[in-house]
């Protein structure tokens, strides 16, 4: 396995392309591609890849990029694309379609702040807005995880017990544009890991079914429940995919959840993506200082890994959740998810949300220390804490009462009551 210095985008582009190439003995591969900063390098690498049996379709919009991907997948190909931020927002309608049609497509998303105002730096708000769609969502911490989880995503998506699309996310620039040492796969390994795709419901001339015909409420319930049941099987299949990955590549890919020092921890920090890397350093130094602090790294948003979460928090009395995203009127999405997951099981746990690194700002060890200080002092959970923001904006005054609009009375005419 070659070890190279590459960007996260490079790793993603390579993994997507090699996965597609691996289907050359089946129906081949295709991708609809459209540029957007900071994911552009991914589609550039895909466009340059010498596919034996593949076509890259450079379309006019993200909506069509996913459209082409859907079409290719419906035709039985291994299909993928990549996007980011407002591109994802524009693509939303078709993202939903890929899920509802149970198409095993893979999309790499580079998490970038949604605009306006325009901001190209890291923020998970773009993919988190897709959390209610039938997509598995994975969040990578570094280039290696990007490469590994992207390959694993195809294996997971195409498993007949799953058949759901997978979104693999990474932080803008901090991963996408940062050169790091990465073990890159060989095509031979990828070929072994990803067997030819045989999509059970691909469009075939001998099977005149219509996908997307009208469904009555009862039939809709059935189809939705099928999706839910497929999600229920994901954790098990995901672990199988990791095992197979180890067998082929000789190393373990990142898990859906990783817990550090949580065994007897009183306080557990929850973090995702690159923030988790910094947080681990802080937790380790606190542990070294004898504090009962642990860290839980979440890499899977859908399905939400409730069991592992409970296990990691078994000894804890308080949890601090670090969110590099903001859901309007709520706060951090991850915090919200965790509160919901613990509801009724661990009502004793204090869960506090911290908004940090929003819009791509750095989340330094100092910031995480501030979080731990705040968390340690809390008796009760409060509203989300905007970490590092010292001066709250002034509260606008309530509008003065307005007189009702009365038509002017023409002069010389006396108004009657």
């Amino acid at each position: 396995m070659p070890r190279e210095i590459v960007t996260g985008n490079h790793a993603a582009g390579l993994a997507l392309s090699m996965a597609g190439e691996a289907n050359r003995f089946a129906r081949g591969t295709a991708a609809g591609i459209y540029p957007i900063t900071p994911q552009t390098e991914i589609v550039e690498r895909v466009a340059a890849f010498p596919f034996s049996k593949g076509r890259v379709v450079p379309v006019e919009s993200e909506h069509s990029a996913m459209g082409v991907t859907i079409g290719a997948s419906l035709s039985g190909a291994r299909a993928f694309t990549a996007s980011s931020s407002n591109g994802l927002a524009y693509m939303v309608e078709n993202i939903m379609v890929a899920g509802f049609y149970r198409l095993p497509v893979v999309m790499v998303a580079v998490n970038r702040t949604l605009g306006p105002p325009w901001n190209i730096w890291a923020d998970q708000g773009d993919t988190l807005m897709l959390r209610d769609f039938p997509w598995i969502q994975l969040y990578a911490q570094d280039n290696q995880q990007v490469a590994d989880l992207t390959l694993l995503a195809f294996r997971l998506a195409e498993d007949p017990r799953v058949l759901l699309p997978v979104l693999v996310c990474m932080d803008a620039f901090i991963v996408s544009h940062t050169q790091m040492e990465t073990e890159l796969p060989t095509q031979e390994q990828v070929d072994r890991y990803l067997p030819p795709l045989d999509l059970p419901h691909r469009m075939r001339s001998d099977d005149p079914k219509t996908l997307g015909g009208l469904v009555w409420p009862d039939a809709t319930v059935s189809l939705r429940k099928e999706i839910h049941e497929a999600f229920d099987r994901v954790p098990m299949v995901f672990e199988e995919c990791r095992q197979e990955f180890r067998d082929v590549f000789g190393r373990s890919p990142a898990g859906a959840v990783e817990a550090y020092h949580t065994k007897n921890a009183e306080t557990v920090l929850v973090a995702t993506a690159t923030i988790a890397t910094t947080a681990l350093e802080v937790v380790r130094s606190r542990r070294a200082a004898g504090e009962r602090v642990g860290l839980l790294i979440l890499r899977m948003l859908r399905p939400f890994p409730i069991d592992q979460l409970l296990e990691a928090c078994a000894s804890a009395s308080r949890i601090g959740v670090l969110d590099r995203d903001y859901a309007a009127g709520i706060g951090g999405v991850w915090a919200h998810e965790i509160r919901a997951a613990l509801q009724g099981t661990r009502d004793d746990l204090l869960v506090q949300g911290y908004l940090t690194g929003i819009g791509g700002g750095d989340v330094t060890a100092e910031r995480i220390d501030e979080v731990l200080v705040d968390l340690g002092q809390r008796e009760l959970p409060g509203p989300p804490v905007w970490v590092g923001l010292e001066d709250p904006a002034p509260v606008p005054a309530a509008p003065p009462p307005k007189a009702p609009l009365v038509p002017p009375v023409p002069s010389g005419v006396e108004a009657t009551p």
Binding site: Y101, R102, L163, P200, H201, D207, P208, K209, T210, L211, L214, V215, W216, D218, A219, V221, S222, L223, E226
Partner: protein, 748 residues
């Protein structure tokens, strides 16, 4: 709370009816709901709408499963499905023209009310005929049965902006509701609440792809059906030919089949294809579009080119004698032989064929063409005895020896014209002249000939005269060319060949010209000019002399072609000679008159038809079996409606036909024609002219209806049109696109 469920069709206004009822109640302080069940249904599909009203606040936001009352907007929806869950004793209000009792039979446990809201809607011009908007009328009817004051409903309508015909419709329906409210008491309420849903189909498994379960035929309020009319050509053909039928076969280039169709009614297609005046062409609806189909030439083509070997049928014991071998006699003999009867034809002349042989010149009907068609008759076993003139006594003998006798001696009495001094020397009967020409016994070298008459004999004589040397030939006729009974084409050809036509001229007398040498035989034919007066009994305008308009035409020869009449001397005194009548009941076996002798029709086709009818009649006399080979034989079992009326151009959709000029067929150049008696017409090169037939009122399997059926549920199987009524939505495009009025809409 009162709950009403409304069943209608998309486009009828069911949801608005719910809103009308709800508004009437809303205005009197009720809490109300009005809503539809929206899905993929389209115009015409069964739909449901719902209305709730209550003095209390309504909290139920679901569909109505167990309604208090049901309103049915379309009578074709009446059935068990629409009353599902209906509470016993509740009203069923139906828009129908049927009486309440008829509807009530199906619903013993409910009160039933009916009103013809469709009629009321149409009276008030609400909606279209195919989709009348019946909701406002039914709102009035609902007011009546639910005892809501009509004024409340009208106030509701005003509130919603409905006025005019809608108000009148509601009032009319309120008055017109008929009620049957006697109900049998012992009904249990039926539970119709929805149960748990089973697991539905997944598209990951093999499920899916089957045909939809909806039978859209239930949307239809009318259905297309196939009808047939009588085309004018078939109706008018004196021979009774299935003109449309043989043209249809030719249009498909099935020449043998076309001949077969003709041979059902006529043994003489090649003859008629040359000499028939073709009344079918005068009646042809295509002349409204461009010009008539050239049926005559197409019949000739079928007769000349088609090959059909007629089977000799099993012989029957009866024998029939036919007197006269003209077209009538031979036609009768032919048809009798095809039934298997033994037939002997007696002909006074040395040759077979009667007038066909002697009276029609070779340039129109070559002898070998006639020979071939006669051979087809004799091949069937018909015996012909020539040089055997039958007189009154002979007829009696035949009536003894044969099981039946047909007399078909035609028109042998020639009309004469008294022309005064010397006329008898110079005057010649046209028929005799033509016979002489046939036998090469007439020369008129250098003569100046006047032919008197306007029929085909006149034309044939005039044209023959030119061919036997006449230097000048004039035809005088007392009416105009338009009234001449001769075939128009023949007149045209005669003129092309140099015959001079004098219209509106009546010969008066023949006078010797005061010539110097006195013995050249040159005379002047004194004539007077005519004008057309009032129509006579035949409908033609009577010619009236123009006083003082006398003039003289020089001539050396006069040929009279004034028509013929029957010679009845063969019959016993006082016999009434008419077609179909058994003339001589006193004789041992029946004797019938056939052809021109009986009908005085004067055409070959008429004689053929008469002969066929006589043969059928005799067959019926012998066997009691009624057989029809002509028009009536075309009544088909695969036609839903048989119209025995003749279809005229105004009943066709002429705009759907392309114009294309008719084909004349080729003929010799006029200069070449006069050199002898070669046939001047050489016929049509192919069958393409037959494709111009509009096939009026008869399906010719053009498949336009099949092409246009939007649903693909109209198919042709063999010769049948098959409408799949389970799915036909009744759009009617097959009707509007059928150019020949074969498909029609039948209201359910």
């Amino acid at each position: 709370m009162v709950e009403i469920r409304i069943h209608g069709r998309g486009g009828q206004g069911g949801v608005t009816l719910a809103k009308l009822i709800a508004t009437a109640r809303f205005l009197t302080g009720h809490s109300v709901q009005a809503f539809g069940l929206y899905a993929a249904e389209r115009s015409g599909a069964p739909i449901q709408a719902f209305c709730r009203f209550s003095p209390e606040a309504i909290t139920d936001r679901n569909l109505i499963y167990e309604p208090d009352h049901v309103v049915i907007l379309d009578p074709t929806l009446v059935g068990p499905g629409v009353t599902r869950g209906l509470k016993p004793g509740g009203w069923i209000l139906v828009n129908t023209e049927l009486p309440a009792e008829a509807v009530a039979e199906q619903f013993p446990h409910n009160r039933v009310a009916v009103v013809d809201a469709t009629a009321i809607a149409l009276e008030n011009r609400l909606g279209t005929r195919s989709v009348p908007i019946v909701n406002t009328a039914l709102a009035g009817a609902v007011a009546r049965i639910l005892e809501i004051p009509l004024d409340d409903v009208l106030a509701g309508m005003e509130h919603l902006g409905f006025g005019g015909g809608n108000v009148t419709a509601a009032r009319s329906a309120f008055q017109a509701v008929a009620i049957r409210d006697a109900i049998s008491p012992d009904a249990e309420p039926e539970s119709a609440r929805p149960g748990p849903a089973g697991r539905g189909a997944s598209f990951l498994e093999g499920a899916g792809g089957e045909r939809p379960a909806i039978q859209t035929g239930s949307w239809a309020t009318s259905q297309p059906k196939r009808q047939q009319y009588v085309p004018p050509c078939n109706h008018i053909c004196p021979a009774g030919n299935d003109v449309q039928g043989f043209l249809h076969a030719l249009a498909r280039d099935e020449v043998d089949e076309a001949l077969g169709i003709l041979l059902r009614t006529t043994p003489f297609p090649s003859v008629c294809g040359r000499v028939c005046p073709a009344p079918c062409m005068q009646q042809c609806n295509r002349s409204e579009l461009d010009e008539a189909v050239n049926v005559r030439q197409l019949e000739r083509l079928a007769g000349d080119v088609g090959r059909v070997v007629l089977e000799r049928p099993e012989a029957r014991s009866q024998r029939v004698a036919v007197v006269g071998s003209g077209p009538g006699g031979l036609s009768a003999g032919y048809h009798l032989a095809r039934f298997g009867y033994g037939v002997t034809v007696y002909e006074g002349a040395p040759e077979v064929g009667g007038l066909l042989r002697t009276g029609i010149p070779d340039f129109r009907l070559p002898g070998k063409v006639l020979d071939r068609e006669i051979e087809r008759i004799t091949d069937l076993g018909v015996q012909v005895v020539t040089d055997h003139r039958v007189d009154r006594r002979g007829l009696m003998e035949l009536a003894r020896a044969y099981d039946a006798v047909l007399v078909a001696t035609g028109l042998q009495q020639l009309r004469d014209l008294r022309l005064g001094v010397g006329g008898s020397d110079m005057a010649l009967q046209g028929i005799d002249f033509l016979d002489q020409v046939k036998h090469d016994q007439a020369r008129l070298d250098g003569e100046t000939v006047v032919v008197v008459g306007g029929g085909n004999t006149a034309m044939d004589a005039a044209r023959s005269a030119l061919r036997v040397g006449a230097s000048e030939v004039r035809v005088v006729y007392r009416r105009t060319r338009h009234e001449m009974p001769a075939i128009a084409e023949e007149i045209e050809e005669a003129l092309e060949e140099g015959v001079i036509l004098h219209e509106l001229v009546q010969p008066v007398s023949l006078q010797a010209e005061a010539q110097a040498d006195g013995d050249t035989g040159s005379h002047g034919l004194q004539c007077i000019r005519m004008r057309l007066g009032e129509p006579d009994a035949s409908g033609r305008r009577r010619p009236v002399e123009v006083e003082g308009s006398d003039f003289s035409l020089p001539c050396t020869r006069i040929i009279l072609a004034l028509g013929q009449s029957p010679d009845l001397s063969v019959f016993p005194e006082g016999a009434e000679v008419r077609e179909g009548g058994d003339l001589l009941g006193l004789l041992e076996h029946p004797v019938f008159a056939v052809g021109d002798l009986a009908t005085n029709d004067g055409t070959v086709a008429g004689a053929i038809g008469s002969g066929r009818r006589a043969a059928l009649h005799i067959h019926q006399t012998f066997t009691g079996e009624v057989v029809e080979t002509g028009d009536q034989a075309r009544v088909r079992s695969d036609v839903d409606l048989w119209n025995d009326e003749v279809i005229r151009a105004d009943a066709l959709r002429m705009h759907l036909f392309e114009r294309s000029p008719g084909q004349e067929g080729s003929s010799l150049d006029p200069r070449e024609r006069l050199d002898g008696f070669r046939e001047i017409h050489t016929g049509l090169p192919d069958t393409s002219e037959a494709r111009r037939c509009l096939s009026c009122g008869v399906c010719n399997e053009c498949d336009i209806c099949v092409t246009y059926c939007p649903e693909g549920v109209l198919k042709r199987v063999g010769h049948q049109l098959v409408f799949d009524y389970a799915y036909c939505k009744g759009c009617g495009i097959c009707v509007t696109e059928c150019p020949r009025n074969v498909v029609f809409m039948s209201h359910l």
